[in-house]
Symmetry: C2
C-alpha cells in the first residue's frame, strides 16, 4: 500500500510501540521474533485474548486512546475475575485504510496511560493492514500463586452471589451514544457514556478475593449470562433478585421513568464488573476485602442446587428475559 | 446477526473449539474467562502473536484447514527460531458474514491436525463476527530452559550465516497461484503452491540449535530483510552470496529460464525457514544438529563488523535489491 501517508510497519513499531516495551523485561525492544517471560517461582500464569472491531465493539470515530484502553481493559477484566495480577500483554493491530499516523500515535498514548495505571508492560505484537474495519486483538498475561486462580467452576449451593460496582451503566451509556435518553443532563450522559467507552477492570478486588471467592466471572455478556456461565461450570443454579441490583444514580433515574430500561441494562453486558460467589460464613471477610480494594459490592442472590439462572422481578416472581446475553452472532 | 445460518458463539465454541482444548492442562474446557499456565520450574516462556487476514495473507477461497494451519504455523515458526518448544496457543477468530459452520468445522480440523503434529494444545480464544474479511490472530507460547532462547541480537563478526531448507519456494508458489509460470508440470506447481499455503516451521532444528546458534530469526519478511533484523539487533553486518542460496529443483528450473525470478524468490518472504549465525568453530556440531533434526542447512555467508546486509550476485558484486523485504504497508 505505497500510497499510505505514513510510515511503514517497522517505523510504526519503532516510533510508537517499542517505547511501550522499553521497560518490559523480555520484550527485547520488540526487535525479535518473540518475547520472553520469566515466570516467578511457584506462580501460575493466567492468559486471555479478546478482539475488538470498529463498528462492532466500538464506534469508528471513538477517540483512539479510548479504543486502546477498552481493548486492553476487556482483557484485564478477565484477569481480574481470576484474581490474577496483570503483567504483560501482546497487541495485534489490523489497520484499516483510513487510519492515520496520528491515530496510531494516540492509540499508543492510550496503551501507555493504562500501562502506567495497571503496572503492565508490552511484550510483543503484530501490525498488519486490513481492507476491513480496524481491529485490535490483545492477549493479556497475569500471575497468581499456583492454584489460587479463581475459576468459574467452584460455586456451591448455599453460596451468596455478589457483584461489584453498579450494573447497567455501560448499556445505558451505549444507549446515550445511540441517541436514546435525550433528556439527561450532560454530566450524567457523559458519565454513562464513559462507562461504555472505558471499562474499569476490578483488578484490586480480584486480588482481594483470592482464597475467599468460590467462583468468579467478569460481567461482559450480561449479568444473567455470565452468572449462567458460573452455574454451568459449577453444576449449580443461581437465583438473583432485581430488587437488590446495584444501580448508579443515573440508572436509578432512568429506571424511574422507564422500568424496561432496567432489564435492558441488566442484560446489556459490557459492565466489566466481577460477579462472584462465596460462603455466607465469609460474608464479613468478603466485605473487608472489598473495602480494602475500594470497591462497592452487593449481595444479589444465592447459589442453589439445580441448574440455570433465575432472575426474580420486583414482585418476587421469575422474569422471562428476552435473551440470555449478548451474542456476537 | 440473527440471519446467520449457523450456531451462536457459545455453540461454536462448544462444538468445534472446546474439543481442541479437552487435553490442554489449564484450558478449563474453554468455559472460563482465561486459561491457566503452570510453567515448569526453571523454564522461560516464549510468546508471539500474528494475524492473518483473508485477501492479505491468504486467499479468500483457500481451504479452511490450510488457513488454520498457516495461521498457527507462522507463529510456531517464530517460536522455532527462538529454540522454543511449542506448548500452547490462543486463537482469536473474526468471522466474516459469508463464513459457514462447515468452514469453521474444517478450520478446527486444521488446528487439530497441527496440534497433533506439533504436540500443542488450545488454551483459550475469542470468537467474534466482523463485517470485514475473515481474520485469525494466534498467540503461541513455547518453552525453553531459562536463558537459552536464541535471540536476534547475538551475532558476532566472524560468524557463519546459515539458512535452513530452501529459499524462494513460497514466493514462487504464490506466483503459481497468481498464474505466473504456466509451463510448470502439475506436480511441481503443486509443490510450490503447498510451500506457500502450508509453511513448515523448523521446530526440531530450533531446539537442536540451542546453545550453538549465536542469533536466529525466522524468514518471513524475506531473507535479506530478516538477516537485516539480525544485523540491526546485533550491531553487525551480514554478507550473503546468491550463488550459495539453497534452491529447490523447481526453483532451479524456474531460475534457469528467468534469472530475475531468483531475486524475486530471495526477497519474497514467507519461507518460514530459520536464518542463523554460529561460530565457524562449531561448524561440525551445527552440521550434526541439523542432521539430527532432519533438516538441510546451508552456509550462505558471513557476519562482519559494520551494519546492514549485503547480497552478492553471481558475479561477486553487491546487488542493489529493489526492496528491503515484505512490508504490510
Amino acid at each position: 500500500m505505497a500510497d499510505r501517508t505514513f510510515a511503514g510497519e517497522f517505523e510504526l513499531i519503532a516510533r510508537y510501540f517499542a517505547p511501550l516495551a522499553a521497560k518490559t523485561p523480555g520484550a527485547l525492544g520488540l526487535t525479535d521474533d518473540a518475547g520472553l517471560i520469566s515466570p516467578a517461582p511457584g506462580c501460575e500464569l493466567v492468559a486471555t485474548t479478546d478482539t475488538v472491531i470498529a463498528g462492532v465493539h466500538f464506534g469508528p470515530d471513538d477517540p483512539p486512546d479510548l479504543v486502546a484502553r477498552k481493548a486492553l481493559r476487556v482483557n484485564l477484566s478477565d484477569l481480574a475475575a481470576k484474581g490474577a495480577e496483570p503483567r504483560l500483554y501482546l497487541v495485534a493491530l489490523s489497520l484499516a485504510p483510513a487510519i492515520t499516523e496520528a491515530w496510531v500515535a494516540a492509540f499508543a498514548d492510550g496503551l501507555r496511560a493504562d500501562q502506567d495505571e495497571f503496572g503492565i508492560g508490552l511484550l510483543g505484537g503484530d501490525t498488519t493492514a486490513t481492507p476491513g474495519p480496524l481491529a485490535v486483538t490483545i492477549t493479556a498475561l497475569g500471575e497468581t500463586p499456583a492454584g489460587q486462580a479463581i475459576r468459574r467452576s467452584g460455586a456451591r449451593p448455599g453460596d451468596d452471589v455478589y457483584v461489584s460496582g453498579t450494573i447497567g451503566d455501560a448499556a445505558l451509556g451505549l444507549g446515550v451514544i445511540q441517541g436514546r435518553y435525550p433528556g439527561l443532563a450532560d454530566e450524567v450522559a457523559d458519565r454513562l457514556r464513559r462507562r461504555y467507552l472505558v471499562p474499569e477492570p476490578r483488578v484490586a478486588l480480584g486480588l482481594a478475593l483470592r482464597g475467599l471467592a468460590h467462583a468468579a466471572a467478569d460481567v461482559s455478556d450480561g449479568l444473567p449470562a455470565d452468572l449462567g456461565h458460573i452455574a454451568a461450570a459449577s453444576g449449580v443454579a443461581v437465583v438473583i433478585d432485581t430488587a437488590r441490583m446495584p444501580l448508579s444514580p443515573p440508572a436509578e433515574a432512568i429506571a424511574a421513568g422507564d422500568p424496561s430500561a432496567v432489564i435492558s441494562a441488566l442484560i446489556g453486558g459490557d459492565d466489566y464488573e466481577i460477579a462472584f460467589t462465596a460462603s455466607p460464613r465469609d460474608a464479613r471477610r468478603i466485605g473487608k476485602a472489598a473495602a480494602s480494594a475500594g470497591v462497592r459490592i452487593t449481595s444479589i442472590g444465592r447459589v442453589e442446587a439445580g441448574k440455570g439462572v433465575t432472575v426474580l422481578g420486583s414482585d418476587g416472581e421469575p422474569l422471562a428475559l428476552p435473551v440470555s446475553g449478548y451474542r456476537h452472532f
